[in-house]
Amino acid sequence: MLSSKHFFLLPALLTLVAIILFPLLFTVRVSFSSWDVFQSGLDFIGGRNYVRVFEDDRFWQSLQRLSLLSIMSVSLQYTLGFALALAVWKQVRGGRLLRVLFLIPMMTTPVVMSVIWRTVFHESLGPVNDILSAFGVGPVPWLSSATGAFISVLIVEVWQWTPFMFLLLLAGLVSLPKEPYLAAAIDGAGTWRTFWQVTFPLMAPITIGALIIRLIEASKIMDTVYVLTSGGPGTATETSSYYIYIRGLRDFQIGYSAALSLVYLVIMIISLTIIAKLLLRTLVGKDE
């Protein structure tokens, strides 16, 4: 039975409805309409947009590309982030300064940094090829070849988001109990063995959380691609979110882009759930 105390839940409930439920339900409704540049309003066309999504090769190719990019970038971010966190975990000289320095890329605006990276990778006027030419290398087609452009996007992503991984993992390392390390030391375990048999397993829950958070974020990559390559050359760096942006905001196919977004959302929820379960099973050894 409702009592006065339940009314205290109302603000939170209303906020939830306003910022999550309403936009989501509205998007679902829009996805069943033909709302387009020449057709305004919410008519009903059934599942036609969804049929189109399943026939849209460009969308599925962009999804494959996104999967590859996300897995590669998050793996690299995790490896580098963990290495950096381990490096400053123990008391090292200048550790505090290093921690701040490592966090700078994450605090910069992605669009601005992408513009700067675009200049850095500029093949005839940028500094990277200039430096490489001093060693007789290049010019490297950073943005004008399919592989180069993919690697460039990957580098920017890793540069920008490794600090986030570093931050999460460092917080995890700092919170680890000391006793297992004392026990390992008494048993005569070396650094390598201590890492694999103590640190890594203890960090597993934090690792899973960090990987999932970054995978969610990485799968939304848009601004870096937009500024750096516009999805090109050809479609070499076109990701799902950039493709949805083109269909929705450039082409103004609102109904169709709503259907694309929802299909994308469902795929993401399913695949991230599967990934989380697999990680749990692999790293923690149980399926919770």
């Binding site: 005839s124 004008s144 999805g231 479609t235 103004f252």
Partner: protein, 511 residues
């Protein structure tokens, strides 16, 4: 004693007589940053006489720079002169279309005045207020060239307010093309004389010859051609410039992008395919990374002296001729290269032309309009009339970053450009190139129909696939044609045909 009162009458008469005989001293408006006010319907003086105190105008425009900057400037001036409150909203290009379209579609009176890309007229026309006759009769408007009057017109009615004129043309380095030593070497090496390219095949050949050489002797390598080749960054315009002379037959009427009668896409016809093959081939003469050049890179590359030739809008030309440019007055303008063979879709054959076929491309350009829903239409049109008045237009033309280019006959005046410090050839070639485009009977205009962004985005994707080697030119354009047919189906053939007829009218010189 002399009575003062006796003098008052004659003195007053004398004062009035002197006042009548002396010409009125024009009010000084130089504090607004102009050289002087110029006579005209919406001059500073005429605008100053209006009082819009207590009323407000909402304007949406592009982010600063380009058209956002003159919009902000003239809004501030208009507010100071009339007492109106002018609220200007600046939006990045990627958002501009939807920020205008969503209020239109949801019947919200969000903005009175809109600045946007002129090719969106196909989508916006049903929401725009026709320009009233008194503004059509205004001094500034009557001097707008026929092309840009056409660009502002829809179904015989002017619904956009012209304030910019854009077209593509060729830009090249005169210090190389006119250099006798270079000419002799080119002749010896290639067996042909070095001339300004007449066809796109010539263009590619000259660009390839001069590519990867330090032909300006500054110790840095130079390159053949800078082109806008980055997908989704106006690359569609570059492709159309290249394909137009092969696909736009002067004797074939009734559509360039579509066959107006059947609304079948022509984008994969042999003329377009030839243009795309040459575009793909031209990549070898681009500077490193040139196939990822957006408009800004193209301007910087040619305007900065890195490349021998380029083609696009005026920006690179203006930048190359700015006072601080190291290639100032070393560049000239010429018509876009043409084609020796043109696809005739009526006969299904290639026709040979002894004089290359040219198809000048009037592309893009900023435009402005007043919303039908506006409750301040008169003030809105007054603002646009003031924005484009004679003094402002001349001032805006001189500032490259404003993105305002010649659109009135008076702007095609060699002396005006010489007055900017341009030497004879630089000024004369520029004016004659632009003027000849106005006279051409074989022009191409943008695809100004509903869903233009969908068509252009699809085309850009296909062209980008061919440029990246993912598909052959034919396969890529077949894919575009298939997608265009699907878009046509969704829009409805009849609706599209009715809109496209406006474009065909301009291209077939019936407008």
């Amino acid at each position: 004693m002399i009575k003062i009162s006796k003098f008052i009458g004659p003195a007053t008469l004398l004062a009035l007589a002197v006042a009548a005989a002396t010409p009125a001293v024009a009010k000084d408006y130089t504090q607004f940053g102009i050289e002087k006010d110029l006579p005209g319907t919406c001059s500073y003086e005429a605008t100053d006489a209006k009082d819009y105190s207590g009323r407000s105008l909402n304007v949406i425009t592009h982010a600063i720079p380009v058209i956002g900057e003159p919009t902000a400037l003239h809004a501030e001036q208009f507010a100071a002169l009339t007492g109106a409150e002018v609220n200007v909203v600046h939006v990045p290009f990627g958002d501009l279309f939807q920020r205008i379209m969503i209020p239109f579609q949801s019947d919200q009176n969000a903005y009175d005045v809109l600045f946007y890309a002129s090719l969106w007229i196909g989508d916006f026309n049903r929401f725009l207020e026709p320009v009233p006759q008194k503004y059509i009769d205004s001094t500034g408007m009557s001097d707008v060239t026929d092309s840009f009057t056409g660009v502002a017109t829809w179904n015989g009615e002017m619904i956009q307010y012209p304030m910019d004129g854009d077209r593509h043309y060729l830009k090249y380095r005169t210090d190389i093309f006119d250099n006798a030593e270079v000419q002799a070497k080119f002749l010896a090496d290639t067996g042909s004389a070095l001339t300004v390219p007449e066809t796109w095949e010539d263009y590619n050949q000259v660009a390839a010859y001069f590519n990867n050489r330090d032909w300006d002797g500054d110790g840095e390598l130079n390159y053949g051609s800078a082109e806008v080749a980055k997908r989704d960054d106006l690359m569609f315009s570059a492709f159309i410039s290249r394909a137009a002379p092969y696909a736009k037959h002067p004797d074939v009427k009734g559509g360039f992008f579509f066959d107006l009668e059947t609304m079948e896409p022509l984008i994969n016809s042999p003329g377009f395919v030839r243009g795309l093959k040459l575009f793909v081939d031209a990549q070898k003469s681009f500077p490193p990374g040139g196939n990822n050049f957006g408009l800004g890179d193209e301007i910087f590359s040619f305007g900065g002296g890195q490349t021998l030739m380029s083609y696009s809008w005026d920006d690179a030309y203006v930048q190359a001729n700015q006072k601080d440019s190291r290639i100032r007055n070393m560049v000239a303008a010429a018509p876009l290269p043409g084609a020796g063979e043109v696809w005739n879709r009526d006969t299904g054959t290639w026709d040979t032309f002894s004089t290359p076929n040219r198809a000048p491309y009037m592309t893009w350009g900023w435009s402005s309009a007043v919303s039908q829903m506006s409750e301040e239409k008169e003030m809105a049109f007054d603002f646009l009339c003031f924005f484009a008045n004679e003094a402002n237009a001349k001032n805006d033309l001189q500032i490259g970053r404003f993105g305002v280019n010649p659109y009135r006959n008076e702007h095609l005046d060699v002396d005006f450009w010489k007055g900017q410090g341009w030497e004879d050839k630089t000024a004369e070639s520029y004016v004659s190139t632009l003027s000849d485009m106005e006279e051409s009977q074989n022009r191409v205009f943008d695809l100004r129909v509903p869903g233009v962004s969908q068509f252009m985005s699809s085309m850009a994707n296909g062209v980008a696939e061919a440029m990246a080697g993912q598909k052959s030119a034919q396969d890529a354009l077949d894919g575009v044609a298939k997608e265009w047919a699907e878009i046509t189906e969704r829009i409805g053939k009849d609706r599209l045909r009715a809109a496209y007829a406006n474009v065909v009218k301009l291209e077939d010189n019936e407008g």
